[in-house]
């Protein structure tokens, strides 16, 4: 049993925080782990990614081979496309709907989202709505993590201690708000997963679940 996940986004969006949470959850469940990330220059607003691999056996390479990722989890829709060659045919894409237009040649937004919804197993998340409705706009990354969890071998409660560890210095209110965002993302992910598993196309599942927000 193995899970290969590409985490993606733009420097400053909290990709490495998602990685920290998943790493620790995987360690707590007894998996072997390798998680390669980007530090240094790219973190100044460039494309940031992480290869996260965990398994019930030894993980060999720090990098996921092309065509073998089980999931792309991205806080930015264009960044999904950058790493799509890593995904295998039945791999899942979990992406935020909100573009981060930090470059002059950013492609047309609608075309990107339409292309994502044509993938067999795609889940778009209005992470901004989830984060702001819980009065913690910076927690979009936690909404994304929550939405991805139904596709992974974890329970929501696995993350309680790591959310505590990550945010406790910012006060209990921030800890609770992050927990709420994670849980709401999780509910959204669960609703979409049920529909995808029942054979519903990704774009229909996206439309149907919008009312849940």
């Amino acid at each position: 049993m193995k899970y290969d996940i590409i985490l993606a986004g733009v420097g400053g969006q909290g990709i490495l925080t998602i990685a920290f949470m998943l790493d620790n959850a995987a360690l707590a469940r007894g998996f072997r782990i390798k998680q390669a990330e980007v530090h240094g220059m790219a973190q100044r607003g460039g494309a940031v990614y992480s290869h996260l691999r965990f398994a019930d056996h030894e993980v060999i390479s720090d990098l996921i081979p092309r065509g073998q990722a089980d999931m792309i989890l991205s806080v930015e829709p264009l960044e999904v496309q950058r790493y799509l060659p890593f995904l295998h045919a039945s791999g899942v894409v979990v992406s935020s709907v909100h573009p981060f237009k930090s470059i002059p040649d950013y492609p047309e937004e609608k075309a990107i989202l339409d292309a994502l919804l044509e993938l067999p197993r795609a889940l778009l998340v209005d992470a901004r709505q989830i984060a702001t409705s819980n009065k913690i706009p910076k927690a979009e990354n936690m909404a994304m993590l929550g939405a991805a969890l139904p596709f992974l071998p974890f329970e929501l409660a696995d993350f309680d201690p790591f959310i505590q560890a990550q945010f406790e210095r910012k006060g209990d209110q921030v800890v609770q708000a992050n927990r709420a965002v994670l849980a709401q993302g999780y509910r959204m992910g669960t609703a979409v997963k049920e529909r995808l598993d029942a054979g519903m196309p990704a774009d229909a599942a996206w439309r149907e679940t919008q009312t849940l927000l």
């Binding site: 790493d23 782990i33 390798k34 240094g40 460039g46 065509g67 960044e79 799509l84 060659p85 930090s102």
Partner: protein
Amino acid sequence: MQKKELLLGDEAIALAALHAGISGAYSYPGTPATEILEHVQSKAAEFGVSASWSANEKVAYEGALGMSYCGKRALVSMKHVGLNVAADPFVNSGVTGVDGGLVLCVADDPGMHSSQNEQDSRYLARFALIPCLEPLNQQEAYDMTREAFDMSERFKTPVMVRIVTRLAHSRADVVTGETKAQNALSTPANVAGYILLPSNARVQYDKLVAKQPALEEYAARSPHNRICLDGDRKVGILCNAMAFNYVREAFGDKIPHPYVKVGIYPTPMGLIRQLVEAVDEIVVVEEGYPFLEELLSGVVGVAGKPIHGKLDGRVPRTGELNPANVAAAFGIALESPYTATLPKVPGRPPALCPGCPHADSYRALKLAAGDFPKVPIFSDIGCYTLSFYPPYNAVDSCVDMGASISMAIGAAHAGLHPVTCSIGDSTFGHSGMTGLLTAAYEKLPLTVFILDNGTVAMTGTQDTLLTGEALVKAVIGLGVEPEHVRVLSPLPKNLEENARIIREELEYKGLSVIIPRRTCVQYRR
């Protein structure tokens, strides 16, 4: 007691050094090595060790050597190009030998994720006749660093641990061990060995050469060098540490050909000879330069046995290895269902942060320089190099730490005026002061910008050693006229005023230093 922890490769090295009983750690920030000293710092009080940033890698290396001289164990870490700066003490510490264990961890950056080249530090280890350990995962990074300290004291030599970005910045579960007590303070039994006067140095160099057979034997017997002669002998595989992972990944864990994996140097010549004798042709896969491949190929190659690798293009000569390009070297294509239908995805390079003081500094400089014919801005290593990209299009060079001022000196000698250069406060403390001293002594007509943002920003806001008023005093102390040391506040509202001051100094036919001073927006966030 054994404990399982989740550690970056860098952190595994730091923790291993602490557990190996170091008394101090030394470094200058540089990706991908920065987190080594940061991790030591986070535990410095608990372990009772010194762990502060040095002004540059040479100072760091010499600090570690001085600690070793006193019988204590020391770790020094740096990025690959940092070892160019520290090459002088590094090479000479092979000649002096060491007392307390001295381990250099150097982090190479194949693919240049955050560097100006992808040089391979194994060449420097061989050049200095210093042994080198190359871990292939985080567990080995931990285990080998501990072993390196024991080797260092046993063979009285510094030991290099060479890692690469993918290991430095990749996390894995690591089993860690007991903490060894720190060594007692002592002074060397053989002081003459540290005094490299020619008469002593000849003796020491003979000793260094004489150590080599024992080091070669240690490496040849080490489990870090692995030979397997099973499988299809049409092809044999020779690879170094990280490359071995991708080879295993390509074949689904069961490598169907004989192979040698090298994880410790001096190069195990005997093992490589055995492999070559057993097979019809050899594929060499290395993360880094074709170090083993060049040794193997020599001048005339191996008669009747083709050698494939980076030199004939079987493996890409430049850039980083990955599962796909290593698999391709063995004719295995990693398919993706999506590559055919994918539109071209625009690049997203890093950029100066919103509100960055450097942006305001370059806007003012460009505005002032607009009144003159082309004014080149020789520049340096740091976030401000990102001003190369639009909309700034500011800097004209970035070569190595401190090169900005020294290159501007050459341009002034060539007859250019005005000549400007820009350097950050930390880079100035690292290698800029000697350039400025030269310019001041010669009274050269240069306009030097020292961009003082109060931190080492690019690598994650580590402490800078020279900032604020101390920086101004240092500049004056090096011989710059106080009236031509101008401190600016780089803010959008000051653009016109700053440009006016810069224009004055560009017109001046002498040396001036302009210090735009504003704290980095990333600092302490």
